[in-house]
């Protein structure tokens, strides 16, 4: 896959190297579940509320819970101010992230209820959608919501003909292709798949496998964050 092993990226990384990452859970006292991810310069927080009663009543679903999901970027999260009003991009991403999380949550255990997932990107530095999903799934687990599996995302890009793992902001702007994916790592299911730019079938296969590798690394960080939270709760009780 990584033929040009000597290729060095704009931030000094090797092609198959992730940026430093850290996931924390239980960061908000009021939410039923919460998580934070730092991935390179990305800083994203997620709060989960619910399952709770659905309003308005006329639109509830009688056989399962409704999942609401909002991906939102703060105006100060980018170097040029972003209008706080949800852009078309943010609306599309909210939709694909919702589909990804919906696949994992056992929604049919909570008929007539709502689960709200609020994703706030406080600082953006490329690959925010997949980092958001990774953190959102940890926040859902923190809220004690039953799930079939965790959901974890990662991206691969192509820049100067080279495939690179965990696309940074510069690579996103100048690269030739971008492939964000999200998977359920234990069930081995793809739940988010988008592509931008141009890739041959051969490149796509390599890119996909590289993205899986990155996702599995982040999955370990998800588990670690949840284990830490469990330990904390054993020691101090639920401090939320």
């Amino acid at each position: 896959m990584v033929e040009k092993v000597n290729y060095i990226r704009y931030d000094g990384r090797k092609p198959d190297e992730m940026r430093p990452y850290q996931i924390k859970t239980g960061i908000f006292r009021n939410a039923d579940g919460s998580a934070e991810i730092k991935l390179g310069g990305n800083w994203i927080v997620v709060a989960v509320y619910g399952p709770r009663e659905h309003f308005p009543k006329a639109q509830l679903s009688q056989d399962k819970a409704i999942l609401n999901c909002r991906y939102h970027m703060a105006p100060y999260s980018t170097s040029e101010r972003k209008s706080p009003k949800p852009s078309r991009r943010e609306i599309e991403l909210s939709k694909v992230i919702k589909n990804a999380l919906e696949r994992a949550i056992l929604l049919d255990q909570f008929p007539e209820m709502t689960i709200d997932v609020y994703i706030e990107v406080l600082q953006a530095e490329g690959s925010t959608r997949v980092a958001s999903i990774t953190a959102a799934s940890v926040a859902l687990a923190d809220a004690g919501i039953p799930m079939r599996d965790m959901v974890v995302g990662c991206s691969v890009g192509k820049i100067n003909g080279q495939l690179v793992l965990d696309v940074g902001e510069e690579e996103d702007k100048t690269g030739e292709a971008d492939l964000p994916i999200a998977i359920m790592p234990n069930l081995k299911k793809i739940v988010l798949l988008q592509m931008d730019g141009k890739l041959t079938h051969k490149e796509f296969k390599e890119a996909f496998e590289l993205a899986l590798k990155g996702a599995m690394q982040l999955h370990e960080a998800q588990i670690k964050a949840l284990m830490e939270r469990v330990k904390e709760m054993e020691q101090f009780g639920d401090s939320r």
Binding site: A58, Q59, R88, R89, I91, E92, S94, K95, V96, N99, R103, K173, L179, M184, K188, K189, I190, V191, L192, L193, Q194, M195, D196, G197, K198, L199, T200, H201, F204, K205, F208, L212
Partner: protein, 277 residues
């Protein structure tokens, strides 16, 4: 008025059941082959007022697209390129579930998939849309609408947008130095649009582990996953979107092969069925 219904939630539950039952017996509604499209019609230059236009039907799904131009300022990061804007809506004529109003998340997703296919393939040579570099360029608008919804809106809208562009002319940028408004623009001599590629989008649904190209609305409702893939004329992938559901890893690669083969077939069909300007 039926308000608050989502796409597919009220469509004939029996049709969805029929779809699932048939597929279980390795059959499809209307005895259509799993890898076959419904009948496609393409009519170009249907709206004379636009610079280019197309009307496409795939089965009972109908899409229409029109091309327009205006004068604008280029983006700071691409001073030597024109601007491409493609947007679309599902019109209230399309089905009982559609209400007039701001675009839904599904409509925004649809628009952005079509946009990525056209942009990613480099279909239009935007460097030939420049009047004064860094100051004055042409803006290309591709507006599309769904007039009737029986599933596979992505392929229908994408085909309409591509066919409209293929038969579109544009105002000669060399004659636009003193032109400032869209009104003046419409009187300038037109030349053929610089077309570099023909991106073709193929949507495949997975139901019961089987692959169905060009899903109808009840098939979409019954689907475990729906994946749209756009290919260039050189067989590269230039856009991809998992519209719904979940996929096994091997299913992704099966669908990639199907989409590539079908894209070649549909591209040939498009080329032989559009009226050259």
């Amino acid at each position: 008025m039926m308000r608050g219904f989502k796409r597919g939630t009220l469509i004939d539950i029996l049709r969805v059941k029929e779809v699932k039952k048939l597929i279980h017996d390795n059959r499809r509604v209307g005895d259509r082959d799993f890898l076959d499209f419904r009948d496609i019609t393409i009519k170009t230059n249907v709206v004379k007022k636009a610079y280019g236009s197309a009307y496409v039907s795939i089965g009972d799904t109908i899409a229409i697209a029109g091309v327009h131009f205006d004068i604008g300022t280029p983006f700071a990061d691409s001073p030597d390129k024109g601007i491409l804007i493609s947007e679309g809506e599902v019109l209230p004529t399309a089905s009982f579930y559609v209400e007039p109003g701001p675009p839904t998340e599904e409509e925004i997703e649809l628009s952005r998939i079509i946009d990525r296919g056209i942009r990613g393939s480099g279909m239009i040579d935007l460097s030939k849309m420049v009047i004064v570099p860094g100051e004055k360029v042409l803006k290309v608008f591709i507006d599309f609408n769904i007039l009737n919804d029986d599933g596979n809106l992505v392929d229908a809208a994408s085909l309409a947008a591509v066919a409209a562009l293929l038969t579109s002319n544009y105002p000669d940028p060399d004659k636009l130095l003193n032109v400032e408004s869209a009104e003046e623009l419409s009187t300038v001599d037109r030349i053929p649009l610089p077309i570099e590629d023909i991106p073709i989008t193929i949507t495949t649904a997975v139901i019961d582990g089987k692959y169905l190209v060009d899903p109808s609305l009840p098939e979409e409702v019954a689907a475990d996953a729906i994946l749209s893939i756009t290919h260039t004329k050189n067989d590269e992938i230039c856009a991809m979107q998992l519209l719904n559901g979940e996929l096994d890893y091997n299913q992704l690669f099966d669908i990639l092969d199907i989409a590539l083969e079908k894209s070649r077939e549909i591209r040939n069909y498009v080329l032989s069925h559009i009226n050259k300007r």
